[in-house]
């Protein structure tokens, strides 16, 4: 049974490589990611937000809720790191008693 596992993974590798080769080239107009949402952003971002940078318009206007989540992820990460690494004076007091 064990000798079949590498064969299985190689078959999986071949299948995935085939799938990657079937993907449309990046940036073509037929790509599935180029749908009506993209067209709406590119056509109306300047009018609806007043920003000439469409990436900024998507990031902080259309998808501002996602960016809020992103900042909260940063906040949670820094709180976790500080709670582990920063030495607190209260901890020493507790240890001394």
């Amino acid at each position: 049974m064990k000798r079949f596992i590498p064969v299985l993974f190689f078959a999986l590798f071949l299948a995935l490589t085939y799938a990657v080769l079937q993907m449309p080239p990046a940036g073509t107009i037929d790509a599935p990611s180029y749908n009506h949402t993209t067209e709406h952003y590119l056509a109306n971002a300047l009018e609806e937000t007043g920003a000439t940078n469409v990436v900024a318009a998507i990031l902080t206007d259309y998808r501002a809720w996602d960016t809020l989540g992103e900042t909260i992820v940063l906040f949670t990460a820094i709180v976790a790191v500080i709670s582990v690494l920063r030495k607190r004076p209260t901890a020493e007091v507790i240890r001394d008693e």
């Binding site: 937000t49 007043g50 920003a51 318009a57 809020l68 900042t71 906040f75 920063r86």
Partner: protein, 142 residues
């Protein structure tokens, strides 16, 4: 690092990196860049300062308290700007319908709440980078 060349060069170059970071943040809505890129630039300038002049000198410039305040303040500014949309009768994080200044296309004061949110994100990313670096480089004296 006790090298006169490195210290002199760092002392000259740090304000320029920070000025460029502020430029990238403020122009986030009219040119490539934004809060994340500009905040990373300012954070990196403070990392350079820490590496050259030591943790002690750097914590006089950017203390734990300032780190805590800007860390929470970035998110609070973001939430406050978002709440303006609710107060003015729209959804959370409404932009132009909430009465933010649309301005002239391509001007610095345009884009409604986008530059304000970029400033909030910039504060957040700066303090995240520098607080993380200081927390990891600090040595435990015991």
């Amino acid at each position: 690092m006790n090298d006169i060349i490195v210290k002199t060069v760092a002392r000259i170059i740090v304000p320029f990196i920070q000025m460029y970071g502020i430029f990238v943040i403020l122009n986030g809505h009219i040119s490539p860049g934004g809060g994340f890129a500009g905040g990373a630039l300012i954070g990196v300038s403070l990392i350079l300062y820490t590496l050259v002049f030591g943790v002690g000198a750097a914590e006089k410039k950017f203390s734990h308290r300032l780190g805590d305040l800007s860390e929470s303040g970035g998110i609070l500014i973001y939430l406050l700007i978002g709440s303006v949309g609710i107060v003015s009768g729209g959804y959370f994080l409404t932009n132009l319908e909430a009465g933010f200044l649309k301005g002239e296309t391509g001007a610095l004061l345009s884009g409604g709440m986008i530059p304000l949110l970029m400033v909030a994100i910039g504060i957040k990313v700066t303090s995240t980078i520098i607080t993380l670096f200081h927390a990891m480089i600090e040595e435990d004296p015991s």
